[in-house]
Symmetry: C2
Subunit: 339 residues, 2 copies
DNA sequence: TTGAGAAATGCAAGCGCTTGCATTTTTTCC
DNA sequence: GGAAAAAATGCAAGCGCTTGCATTTCTCAA
């Protein structure tokens, strides 16, 4: 709790022998203040150790210079990295980041969004598109600009700064199929309430359709993003008939879990089984064999999302969606079947 | 920017046919309001879609229910994990997290601290102890409680919630020495302006002294936390005479970089060279061989730090420091020399 | 030197909420 | 049933800052 009596604008005004209005202007639009006055005010600020009261400022100016973000979890490196870049960018622009996490729970996420808005966030970063219509209405009604990151959906009306999950993994799946795999397993993230995970499954299915792979040659298991779960899922997939020769994973974490488990089962990767990842986080090049995966420019995404939000807040214009381009990184966990 | 005319307390008061004071109380201390009245107010709030104005509230109540944290970077998994737990805890207590990062730069960090305070943070989480006396003075003067995490120093006057880096790595070093290693290399983090990194070097030195290892048998190279740098550092260390048989790393990231490089150089780990880590982040059990490292309870630390801060804010009492206990995790990257 | 226009400054009205104190209503207990 | 205590409510004074508008001061051309 702030100490009893911190200096106020008025104290500074008295010290500098000007009005509070002038002090305020010296702080917020120094260009409109005479050089000499400005100097006096600054000296007074310095002397008194003055720092504006946040609440008062927010109340009077109707803006907080605070930008909110609700992400599923900071523990996943992809969000941590993107958020870091996001934070750096808004910080450089004089704003501050207000963070909340949803643990991938839709209800909790909506609560957090309302919370951030109530806390005065004047723009918000959200992950993906899946959430109730009401919450979008709410944001619209309050005039809070928002950007959806980590996905990009061509036909949506929202402003995205992200990449097309569906298309990205589709390309990877094509590459798998081109190598001759005809029975495929997929370890996906939980698709309910998660458009990114869903789009990734969709992308793989589309590729399979293109190559006329029959349904019985494709099996999907959904699981939360966790090494151990991925290992279990791998075992389940290996029991399917016909047995898959390639496992496409919803992200690198699942892929790492699968690779570990495959090795534990005495299988060679990729000779006995190919495994692919998604995201290209650090572990993907540390595990043996390193993962063939899809690289996502997380930092870049965070930075651009921040710039977008900053611009939207300023101009009150809905910004256009921005699509980033992921690309496949070939490392070694994918090869021809039965090689 | 908030829409032109959101409902205010007064609107709710009118709708519910009570005074604004009663509405305010209904929101903040419902126990002091008659059940019937409360009901009427809540109905009005619902009907109008009212949500209190943050600035006004902060101004009038002199507290924001916002807690700040300045961490070096979210990209390092250890901070991400701790911060996630920290956030969850304060969120559960009705507060929100304001985040800034310092990129390990002292000046930037102090700027960020002032920034968070100006933004109304009513308590702050800081990493480690290294910073100017002025900034501590500043915090004290403003009456902002703070907690230092990720380290614990027995003789400091600050409130820590962390672990004793020096003691923890000292134990690990002892274990290395017990195995018979007599020439040691260390890849440390940059120790300037970073008490954790410094304490870790210190801990190793102390262990060496205990075992009477002469100075020329110990070489330290400092580098920023980065895989590639660690690899370079390893090469440099291997050129030293006498050549080290064990490399103690300042954290897991450095250790992973060292292991990768060692393998690239055709060395077997641990047969040809032992390498140890610190932190026990996920990669340490994914790399081959998995790292022998020191486990730090990051999540627990984040949670406790949050609870501490919450309590300090409430009671206006300086909390006692809390010391967490790291422990060594033996995995496979450390063995007897020349085995 | 003077006067018009531009630049700088001051005045004062809020911004929407909390809270101490005063007042009214309800409850309790003889 | 009534007085005293307790509970609920209302009144209104701020909290510290921004900003539109009015006023003063400065600048510069004639």
């Amino acid at each position: 709790m702030p100490n009893h009596s911190l200096p106020t604008l008025e104290d500074v005004a008295r010290e500098a022998q000007v009005s509070t209005a002038t002090v305020s202007r010296s702080l917020n639009s120094p260009d409109n203040v005479a050089a000499k006055t400005l100097e006096r005010v600054q000296a007074a600020v310095q002397k008194l150790g003055y720092s504006p009261n946040f609440g008062a400022r927010a109340l009077a100016a109707k803006r907080t210079n605070t930008i909110g973000a609700v992400i599923p979890t900071m523990e996943n490196a992809i969000f941590a990295r993107g958020l870091q870049a996001f934070q750096e960018t808004i910080s450089r622009n004089g704003s501050t980041l207000l963070v909340a996490s949803s643990s991938y729970l839709r209800e909790l996420e909506e609560e957090q969004i309302r919370n951030l808005v109530a806390r005065g966030a004047d723009a918000i970063l959200l992950i993906g598109e899946d959430r109730s219509e009401e919450i979008y209405e709410f944001l619209k009604k309050r005039g809070i600009p928002y950007v959806l990151a980590w996905n990009y959906r061509p036909n949506s009306s929202h402003c995205f700064v992200g990449f097309d999950n569906r298309a990205a993994i589709k390309n990877l799946a094509r590459k798998v199929l081109d190598l001759g795999h005809v029975t495929i397993g997929m370890i996906a993230g939980l698709t309910q309430e998660n458009d990114r995970a869903r789009d990734r499954v969709l992308g793989v299915r589309e590729a399979l359709a293109e190559y006329n792979i029959p349904g019985e040659n494709f099996h999907v298991i959904e699981t939360s993003y966790d090494f151990t779960n991925a290992g279990d899922a791998l075992e389940l997939l290996l029991e399917k008939k016909p047995k898959p020769t390639a496992i496409i994973c919803g992200n690198d974490i699942l892929a790492v879990g699968a690779v570990k488990q495959a090795k534990a089962l005495g299988l060679r990767v990729p000779e006995d089984i190919s495994i692919t990842g998604f995201d290209d986080i650090e572990v993907s090049s540390i595990i043996e064999p390193p993962l063939t995966t899809v690289h996502i420019p997380h930092r870049k995404m965070g930075k651009i999302a921040a710039e977008c939000l900053l611009a939207m807040r300023k101009n009150q214009v809905l910004s256009k969606s921005i699509k980033l381009n992921p690309f496949i990184v070939e490392r070694g966990s994918l090869s021809k079947p039965g090689e």
